[in-house]
């Protein structure tokens, strides 16, 4: 057993969240737990990207993307499979460095090469698999990797009452009231698990939350639950980057929409400049759809049911 003591020294942030954390939502929002920069007033850009791009050798995965993430606003990144969404997130999350353009955090140009560097600036990513361990209790999952401890040296132990209490308060602040934080996280619904992951990122000092297709694997009702949590995070003053391929999920919560196709940006629109119908038709690729309709009517004949349906779709999206 003596061998295990050796790797106890890590995670300098471990005991930091213990301080002002239990006080509830307002306190946490004003005083990020892990020492990352404080949240600016709503509407202030936290991240700005200008003509950003990424090439892997001769392959250009992403080019000319311009958008911003503001405190208290939701920036939706929309695109089909292979449009460059994941490359874009990886740049924001610090997993890949960009090769072109400018990436500004709080107005300062940055080149981030590790997720840890992004985290230090308050940019947290919630991946699709949520990084939770299904068989472990909710409170253990909440603090996994950054456990608060009390006691000294070999006697340092988990501060279990604090961990349980904080988990309960933080989840409540996100609008989820768990009966029992001791239940394995695998017993929660998909939406609730997403919420735990979001609450965890917020608690550990996130100013910008990157959500990678949080609604992709969920049913209609659960997706609604997640959208509500996104709104809640926004109301707490965080900047949210919501990646999705579903314009119906993006439109209700989004303040700004950035569309990607084939590694290029199709534009960055504030909500005021775009209706849901426009968004849907842009997503579906308006002109391409028209061309497909022509081709179908040529190969199947004007009167075929499929071609008619398609034509109707193009003219009345």
């Amino acid at each position: 057993m003596t061998t295990q003591g050796s790797h106890a020294a890590k995670q300098p942030a471990a005991s930091a969240p213990a301080d002002g954390a239990v006080g509830g939502a307002a306190e946490v929002a004003g005083m990020p737990a892990s020492g990352s920069p404080a949240l600016p007033p709503p509407g202030t850009p936290i991240i700005e990207v200008r003509d950003i791009g990424k090439s892997y050798g001769s392959v250009i995965a992403l080019r000319d993307v311009t958008t911003s993430v503001r405190a208290g606003e939701v920036t939706c990144v929309l695109g089909d499979n292979g449009a460059g969404k994941s490359t874009f997130i990886k740049i924001l999350a610090g997993a890949h460095e960009h090769t072109h353009g400018e990436f500004l955090v709080d107005g300062i140009a940055r080149h981030m090469s590790t997720p840890r560097a992004a985290l230090a600036l308050g940019i947290a990513t919630v991946y699709q698999d949520l990084a939770v361990v299904p068989l472990m209790p909710v409170w253990r999952n909440f603090f996994l990797g950054s456990e608060p401890t009390k006691g000294w040296g070999p006697f340092s132990r988990l501060d279990i009452p604090l961990m349980k209490k904080t988990t309960k308060t933080e989840l409540k602040a996100m609008g989820i009231d768990l009966r029992d934080v001791d239940q394995p996280i695998g017993t929660l619904s998909g939406g609730e698990r997403q919420c735990v992951a979001i609450a965890r990122a917020v608690f550990f000092g996130a100013r910008v939350l990157i959500l990678d297709e949080p609604t992709a694997a969920l049913g209609v009702r659960q997706s609604g639950v997640v959208l509500k949590y996104i709104a809640k995070a926004r109301d707490r003053g965080l900047g949210v980057v919501f990646i999705t391929h579903n314009p119906h999920h993006a439109y209700p919560v989004g303040d700004r929409f950035m569309l990607l196709r084939r590694g290029r940006s199709m534009g960055d629109f504030p909500k005021g400049e775009m209706t849901l119908d426009e968004l849907v038709s842009m997503m579906a690729g308006g002109s391409e759809l028209e061309q497909l309709s022509h081709e179908l009517s040529r190969s199947l004949g004007e009167d075929s049911a499929v071609a008619k349906e398609m034509a109707a779709e193009v003219h009345h999206p």
């Binding site: 057993m1 003596t2 061998t3 295990q4 003591g5 050796s6 790797h7 106890a8 890590k10 995670q11 471990a14 939502a25 307002a26 991946y127 698999d129 949520l130 990084a131 939770v132 361990v133 299904p134 068989l135 472990m136 253990r140 603090f143 996994l144 990797g145 950054s146 456990e147 401890t149 340092s156 132990r157 988990l158 279990i160 602040a173 609008g175 989820i176 009231d177 009966r179 029992d180 001791d182 239940q183 394995p184 695998g186 017993t187 929660l188 619904s189 639950v225 509500k228 709104a231 809640k232 109301d235 707490r236």
Partner: protein, 355 residues
Amino acid sequence: MSVAEAPPEQAQEQPDERLAGSHRTARILRRPEVGAAAGAIAVFAFFALTTDSFVKASGASTWILTSSTFGIMAVAVALLMIGGEFDLSAGAMWGTTGLMTGILMTQWNVNVWLAILASLVLALGIGALNGILVVRTGLPSFIVTLGTFFVLQGVNLAVTKLIINQVSVTGLNNVDGYTAGQQLFGSFVQIDIGTTLTLYAATFWWIAVTAIATWVLLRTKVGNWIFAVGGALTSARQVGVPVVATKVGLFMTTAFAGWLVGMLSLFKTTTVQSTTGVGQEFIFIICAVVGGCLLTGGYGSAIGAALGALIYGMVSQGIVYEGWDSNWTYAFLGVMLLGAVLVNNWVKNRAEAVR
């Protein structure tokens, strides 16, 4: 949307007050070691009622010693299994460390503490090697440690024969310094209750190892990491758990337990065979599984594994007291393993089901 507002769909899920009591009972019943505890009580009752010598102090001394030796290994193996790995070389390590210390002392008159320390360093080194091989190559630990197991088994025999021209180390009690080592690993206390109850050092080590392992598992960061690396490796890595250190540390822990058991049996019996420990590796795993460990990792308990070893100790001696063929022990172990796996699987599925 105000922060304090509770979402309407949560309201219906509020627990019924009347459910609170049964919820608590259900939680205790869901503990991983419950099955092993029930099994241990049943096995004890059976042999206590059907044989005379089983509950007598002198008879109990034997099965307590067996349980202690296997218990130390089972607890370490359980930690490793919770961390999602196996160690098939754990049994052979028992022989390797015993042989090394024994040969150093009898053949070259090396100081007892130096000889003990040397085999500890060797054990930890092999444990670290196992761990690093598994983590760096991504190969299943079953295969990696199967390799280590065969290497150790071969080396134990060949090197011993090469150095002392026989397959067992004997005469340790004639060497200077033996008594010092014997104090720590081979001593015993005797309590007279009708007949004499003999408790060897191994039993106290077993209790200490189980207590420390339980504390580490449930009350420390490292315990949290062990559950995490066994339950969902990628997730653990994403949230910053030191995955490599945790796994390597676990392999070193089983190697440490192998060394401890090697020393305990060497200084108790003053002799060690080249084949010591070989074939026991699966028994450790069975004890851990009976104690509630999932073969897939991420779930289990140290106390459960200790209870699993207690069951093994009681059965292997109880069968002798019954006057049955001792080979029935293996058949019994097989049945117990299958039963335990089925129960664990059921528990796991219940734990993961949406309540």
